[in-house]
């Protein structure tokens, strides 16, 4: 479903974020992206979302070269990809329900679709009883689950999570991982960029390690580490 062919990215300020990365992700994969800060994890996700263009090489998503998309096709690409941020990025003046519904409103979803899917997504992440609360009234873990509900309400093919457990305590982190696994089991491909070695080691999923912009490891049932 996703192919990176010899992808390099050099930012305008000269920073070489990715160097000749080639990898393939199949539909239904659960993939850990590990590596120190500045290794290129975030750049990789930005290339997928077409927030950045590769300097060299090609990024293919669902058979389409992401760099060649017309500007009006970019929103359609992004609707196929759900994103969960480390800092949640919920809109503070909207309730949990409204935040999740926002993803559908933005994509032009009808009222009926919103009425049907938002409660489903909230049920899935276990926030059905807190839908009328504002983000500031929720705990960190609950805010992150609201973020996940927003990311999956559009039924994306791919879910990208950038250090989703970065701001959470261990117990909450694990609850979150179970949730992501559940979403993965239902057919959504999941990419999780993380520093949480204990989670990576315990789950024995595919691990891609980046270091200094280079892919140093790609293991089917890997463990944390990017020493090479």
């Amino acid at each position: 479903m996703i192919h990176f062919y010899h992808v390099s990215k050099v930012y305008q300020n000269g920073v070489k974020a990715l160097k000749d990365v080639t990898m393939h992700i199949s539909k239904g994969d659960f993939l850990f992206l590990v590596g120190p800060s500045g290794a290129g994890k975030t750049t990789l996700t930005k290339l997928l979302l077409r927030e950045e263009l590769p300097t060299k090489g090609q990024v293919i998503f669902c058979g389409k070269n992401v760099a060649r998309l017309k500007s009006q096709e970019i929103p359609l690409l992004r609707r196929k990809i759900g994103v969960v941020f480390q800092d949640f990025r919920l809109l503070p003046k909207k309730t949990v329900y409204e935040n999740v519904a926002f993803a559908l409103e933005v994509a032009g979803g009808s009222r009926q679709i919103i009425k049907k899917r938002v409660p489903e997504a909230l049920e899935m992440v276990g926030l059905a009883d807190k839908q009328k609360m504002f983000p500031s009234q929720l705990s960190g873990g609950e805010q992150q689950r609201a973020g996940i509900a927003r990311a999956i309400v559009n039924r994306p093919l791919l879910l990208i999570t950038d250090e989703p457990t970065g701001n959470l305590d261990p117990k909450t982190s694990w609850e979150l991982i179970y949730l992501l696994q559940e979403i993965n089991r239902l057919g959504t491909t999941v990419i999780m960029a993380t520093h949480a070695w204990d989670i990576v080691n315990a789950l024995k999923k595919r691990v891609v390690a980046l270091s200094g912009g280079q892919m140093v490891r790609d293991e089917k049932r890997g463990a944390y580490g990017y020493g090479g």
Binding site: E51, L76, L77, L91, G108, I114
Partner: protein, 296 residues
Amino acid sequence: MAMGVNTLAYFFKETARSLFRNTWLSLAATGTITVSLLILGASLLLVINTNRIALDLEQKLEIRVFLVPNLASNQVKQLEKRIYLVPGVARVSFVSKEKAMEDLRRGLGERKDILAGIKKNPLPDAFQVKMARSEQIANAAAQISSLPGVEQVRYGQGTVEKLLLVTRWMRIAGIIIIGALILAALFLISSIIRLSVFARRQEISIMKVLGATNWFIRTPFLLEGVTLGFLGSFVAVVILYFSYWSFVQQVSMFVPFVPLVADQRLLFNLFGGLVGLGLLVGMVGSFFSVRKYLKV
């Protein structure tokens, strides 16, 4: 993107929210647009009226052609024909010395006694020449003065040139002032929308990631700019309308010979144009401020 009822409702909700979140800013924006458009409208009215007055004065301009005394009537006829042939001349009418005396007497009114001592009419026969185009008056006068049988030509030499120069400068100055004011209003609206966009930049970045089209993000801001432009211009037009009418009434009462523009259709077009300009300025201003933030 097919625009559903839901999307439309979203746009109006967001626009209203943004306008009311920054109530004071919105009021300040509306007020400044009102003031700019008031000045703009007032200067437009000034330009329209000076043009009108200038046109009126230009139309009143005429050449007085005095004839040598005792010209035979066929010579007078001949001369009249030749004056007609001078470029720019619209109308030629003969004013006999008797008619000229009568006019003078009537013009003097109660002081006509000063003419009592004059036995013989000292005034010459003359032609009154109206011009089709007032710019040609100096040339035409020069040509006419060289015709046989003409003793002297008068058209208010110097005064006419000055008047034409003044009206031309007023037109140019009017255009410059109006251009500057439109730019000011444009700059103002775009600053306000930029603030509004800046206040919501995080929301915009989230929307982009969620797959919102640029038009979806842009529309509430465009509506906000258009609303500000409309409110500002509407208030300006209302103020302008009432103050101009009372001004016209005052003028027609105290200086009735000044021909002010009071044509309802023309004023309606002018005011409609001002409101349209307010809308356009609002839209263009916000379009450019949002554009910068959409490049993700």
